[in-house]
């Protein structure tokens, strides 16, 4: 099955019952399959007039209690940024799948890119946390879509699945577990009485238990600065407390959220840091290098954001050099520089012509570095 298709099966398996989106290459299969299967499970597929409306509709449906998702690519993802911030600020869970294509602007609509790593982190205005996951196989499109919903429900934050054109359109076999074997997390509900209920009162884990509209609890959701009642409140301390808590609920759970994969020898001379389609190329390079007597391993980023600071720091500390191949002019590499207090040489390999980076290109760079 295709990566894009795997995302839909996963969404439905973990209980998503509402999709709103606007078709865009290379994500359209997600819309098409959702349109086909959601009605079979009493769900709704809604084709909105644009991506501003698409994300607004999934936020609305989620506030009304439905696990909701949308899928898009660069241009549509740009249009979603304002309401992405709204969902973060108002703590409404939802999943946004961005099947990245070459940009900027309309760019090469049918070719892969990885140019949205920073947009996924910083695209919406103001200080905010975000969770972004990056699949590199069809199996992971399934697994990480489940994980995206789980993290979104658990921490009440939008989660972005940052896929790319190759991963989305690639066909591989995968194992789909029995639904009863899946670990599914649903948002928690309040245990306090409805009288005097304040939906944004954080619990011990800093996450508030906000019920959906239509239960006995009155729920006030606001894009404006709000206090624990959910009503808008402009006091400086309220503004400060809210944004700091939003950050803290993610920072405090870094260990639960951040996932990476190490591949190859533990103490390699050179570590490649890669993600998405390019991590597949890099894996081949690690295998080829070993055969050629070169000491190379791979740190594959499964969680993009929050950034795997600890694991990248470890790589910078241990390796003689670090190489970051990406389908952009250098986005993850900047984060690696931020963490590099070890003077470890950091090399970058970019490709932005709509083609993927080939193993031979990475290998050439590896040989140059290790010479």
């Amino acid at each position: 099955m295709q990566g894009n298709e795997a995302c839909v099966y996963a969404a439905i398996d973990c209980g998503a019952r509402f999709y709103a989106g606007y078709p865009i290459t290379p994500s359209s299969e997600i819309a098409e399959l959702s349109a086909k299967y959601l009605p079979k499970v009493n769900g709704i597929y809604l084709q909105m007039e644009d991506e501003l409306g698409s994300i607004a509709a999934i936020i609305g449906a989620s506030a009304a209690g439905k696990k909701s998702f949308t899928a898009t690519s660069g241009p549509g993802f740009s249009l979603m940024q304002e309401n992405l911030g709204m969902a973060i600020y108002a703590e409404v869970p939802c999943v946004i799948i961005n099947v990245q294509r070459n940009g900027p602007s309309t760019g090469l609509a049918t070719r892969p890119g990885q140019g949205d790593v920073m947009q996924a982190r910083w695209g919406t205005h103001g200080d905010h946390p975000i969770i972004v996951l990056s699949p590199s196989s069809v199996q992971e499109c399934y697994d990480l879509t489940i994980r995206a919903f789980n993290l979104s429900e658990k921490y009440r934050i939008p989660v972005i699945l940052l896929s790319d054109e190759v991963i989305g359109h690639m066909r591989e076999s995968l194992t789909i577990p029995e639904v009863e074997d899946l670990i599914i997390i649903n948002r928690k509900l309040p245990l306090v009485p409805a009288q005097g209920f304040k939906p944004y009162t954080p619990e011990e884990d800093l996450v508030p238990a906000i019920p959906p509209f239509g239960t006995g609890y009155i729920v006030h959701i606001s894009s404006s600065c709000h206090d624990e009642s959910g009503y808008s409140h402009n006091a400086p301390q309220t503004a400060d407390n809210l944004v700091r808590r939003l950050h803290k609920k993610i920072e405090a759970n870094q260990e639960d959220i951040v996932q990476v994969e190490w591949f190859g020898p533990e103490d390699a001379e050179l570590t490649i840091i890669a993600y998405g389609v390019i991590s597949r190329t890099a894996k081949q390079v690690v295998i080829n290098a070993q055969a050629n007597g070169l000491s190379v391993n791979l740190l594959r980023l499964i969680t993009h954001w929050p950034f795997p600071d600890e694991q990248v720091t470890q790589a910078l500390k241990k390796a003689r050099a670090v190489l970051i191949p990406e389908l952009n002019l250098g986005q993850v590499v900047q984060e690696v520089h931020r963490l590099n207090s070890f003077n470890t040489p950091v090399y970058q390999l970019s490709r932005i012509d709509g083609e993927i980076i080939l193993p031979s290109q990475i290998m050439q760079k590896v040989e140059e570095v290790l010479k």
């Binding site: 499970v41 607004a56 609305g60 449906a61 989620s62 009304a64 439905k66 509209f213 239960t215 606001s222």
Partner: protein, 276 residues
């Protein structure tokens, strides 16, 4: 009787409101909450969705469920809320900026889809919250802070727009006609499908001051004189019509709403074409 009064839907701790003296918003808020009381709707059954602007602040004073979203997107959020839980009564409160300027696309598509919700649009012909700039309903040559010599753009007719897009129920009144307004809101909420109530409202602070009169009383009288029942309006000459607008129910259809139609077409047991 339900025992609900308009006060059942107000969050008293949030009052007094922030609207200017003479603003129509207070009258409209009262009409909305009275309509809810007369419809015997529990606050827990109602989601009030607001946008951004003076009227977009209305949720601050309401004790129903509320969703205060981003500018222009109220109907897109409301669409998701209604489809997420069709049992809820969903009412979107928007100004002319929210509804048909920045949010015009959502407005026509919510009407076209015939989503079963009610839009109460306060049309005061300008952006009050940001200081009186022109919107897509400011009439041609209307003076605002960004059209000091008069705007070169003609304004939208909200009701025509909604009707052309497919709305089931379309009605217009003014904030002068407070009782008619309440009844109209009741009818709109009770009507299945997309319902629009346009409330032509007074902004003495900006639009009134620049174009009519800064006095709230004179503004209300101006609205009263401008508003003509639709039958009478139709008998007017084009020149007279240009000086007035039609009020009362303008469209009353019973096209099935989106959810009903979607469920009819997409039964869970139905196999989609092309199924392996």
């Amino acid at each position: 009787m339900s025992g609900y009064t308009f006060k059942s839907y107000l969050e008293k701790s949030q009052l007094p409101h922030m609207w200017c003296p003479g603003c129509g918003d207070g009258i409209i808020l009262r009409a909305y909450t009275e309509a809810l009381a007369e419809l015997c709707l529990a606050p827990q059954e109602v989601v009030t969705v607001t946008g951004i602007g003076c009227w977009g602040k209305a949720d601050d004073y309401l004790g129903t469920h509320a969703f205060h979203g981003t500018h222009g997107r109220a109907l897109a959020f409301a669409t998701g809320i209604k489809l997420g839980n069709p049992d809820l009564t969903v009412v979107a409160l928007m100004g002319d900026g929210d509804a048909v300027t920045i949010g015009g696309n959502h407005f026509i598509h919510a009407a076209r889809r015939n989503i079963n919700l009610t839009a109460i649009v306060t049309n005061n012909y300008n952006y009050g919250m940001t200081g009186g700039q022109y919107s897509a309903t400011t009439p041609l040559e209307g003076k605002t802070t960004t059209s000091p010599n008069g705007t070169a753009e003609p304004g939208f007719d909200l009701c025509f727009l909604a009707e052309a897009a497919g709305a089931n129920f379309v009605a217009r009144t003014t904030c002068y006609h407070a009782v008619a307004l309440k009844n109209m809101i009741k009818e709109a909420i009770s009507h299945q499908g997309f319902s629009l109530v346009e409330v032509v409202s007074s902004c003495p602070t900006y639009f009134g001051r620049f174009n009519v009169h800064p006095s709230p009383v004179k503004m209300l009288n101006w609205l009263k004189d401008k508003a003509v029942p639709v039958q009478k309006y139709r008998e007017m000459s084009a020149a007279e019509q240009a000086e007035h607008f039609a009020v009362s129910t303008l469209v009353n259809k019973n096209r099935p709403d989106f959810y009903t139609t979607y469920k009819r077409i997409n039964r869970p047991d139905q196999s989609a074409k092309g199924e392996e």
